[in-house]
Symmetry: C2
Subunit: 254 residues, 2 copies
Amino acid sequence: MPIDEKDFIKLNYTGKVKSTGDVFDTTYEEVADEAGIKNENKDYKPMVLAVGSSQLIPKLHEEIKNLEVGDKATVEIPAEDAFGKRDPSLIQLIPMKEFKKQGIKPFVGMPISAQGTPGIVRTIDGGRVRVDFNHELAGKDIEYELEIVETIEDDAEKIRGLLEVYYGNPNLDLEKTEIIIDGEVAKIILDKLAGFEQRTVQEVTLSKFRVSREIYENMEEIKKVQFIDEFEEPEPEEEDVDTEEVPEKLADDE
Amino acid sequence: MPIDEKDFIKLNYTGKVKSTGDVFDTTYEEVADEAGIKNENKDYKPMVLAVGSSQLIPKLHEEIKNLEVGDKATVEIPAEDAFGKRDPSLIQLIPMKEFKKQGIKPFVGMPISAQGTPGIVRTIDGGRVRVDFNHELAGKDIEYELEIVETIEDDAEKIRGLLEVYYGNPNLDLEKTEIIIDGEVAKIILDKLAGFEQRTVQEVTLSKFRVSREIYENMEEIKKVQFIDEFEEPEPEEEDVDTEEVPEKLADDE
């Protein structure tokens, strides 16, 4: 049965630079290992994808719709649809004395970071250092090898998959995340650990927005997504704990 | 009618150091102004308080229970029940050279901060600087002048008051915060702006916990509090916006 526009699938993929065959991303642990890009913190397994996602590169979208569960395929993506063309304005000449000030001795190929943007030293010419702030895959045609593993039927499982891809907290225990579909509303009660992360609220709101957009764009029946933090009254204890509490001032309103 | 254990009240207060009469906190704008502690960002108005709150100093609790709406009273709080006794181990001798390293020239009375803890320079003796990290009100008996303004009957208004005191985001628009009491569950759908603050999730979780504790400890019928972030599918637009979207790579899982 071919993949449908409205399906959620699990797929494996390997992304390569077309000209060199260099692997830059993969869901297969052994491929990552072989390519020397294995991340010990990453859980290598098939990724959940909404086939109709507006975030998907159109060519990938078209290709996947022609496949069936179990199929493999290779899709070529030109640079402009992948990581973008190279932007000459992102190559900057920086005076050598700026590096000296910070006690850095630049060399060709040295990775550096300017206000969080990664760059790489391309050339050193007398007093000037040419630094390239383009994405390292910018300007490169890439290809993805795809393998459709299965389709997902269960709504809660679809949402767990989207949380895994878009929520951005690898410590989240999705088994402890309760998902309730209540008519047009998807209610997500996250694992309690989600409340203790160090990202700012604004960063997490962006993640929640991305998960929500994938849900209401790709799950026809859902119009609203709620992320719920729950705080429950603890069961009363035997002993009277009141007397052990240290009173605060009138009201700590900071 | 006297104030009851289970009441929520609005009260005005002024906190003073007993020995000097120095005002350190107040809900009256003109008192703050006169004392030179007026904060332009603070909204001076009566504060909401759960009379039965376990966070309240017991002596304040007892005193408030003897009052009625409209009453005024002054309550003395000994240092150990207010900001604590002075702790000699919080007075530290720091070599002058540590200050010099950071280009700081200390003077007696200078406020400093070490890893976020505020302190004050007490003495400078040759190469040693004595810095006091005790709270500036530690060791001081204080007194609160209280005025009971009214009691609050409406559950949503009680919760809005607790959010104002304990949530810790002064930019929150409480008029835009929806509060639904659903049996034993209080549902709080915060103003959308709450999603854009720069505190970490962990800090805000602590604030949510404090609000929740005040709710389920002091509102008998509530056993569970939910903080809900909602994301709704936007109404479809006339034009087809799909073609204007810039596709991302296969899946941006960062």
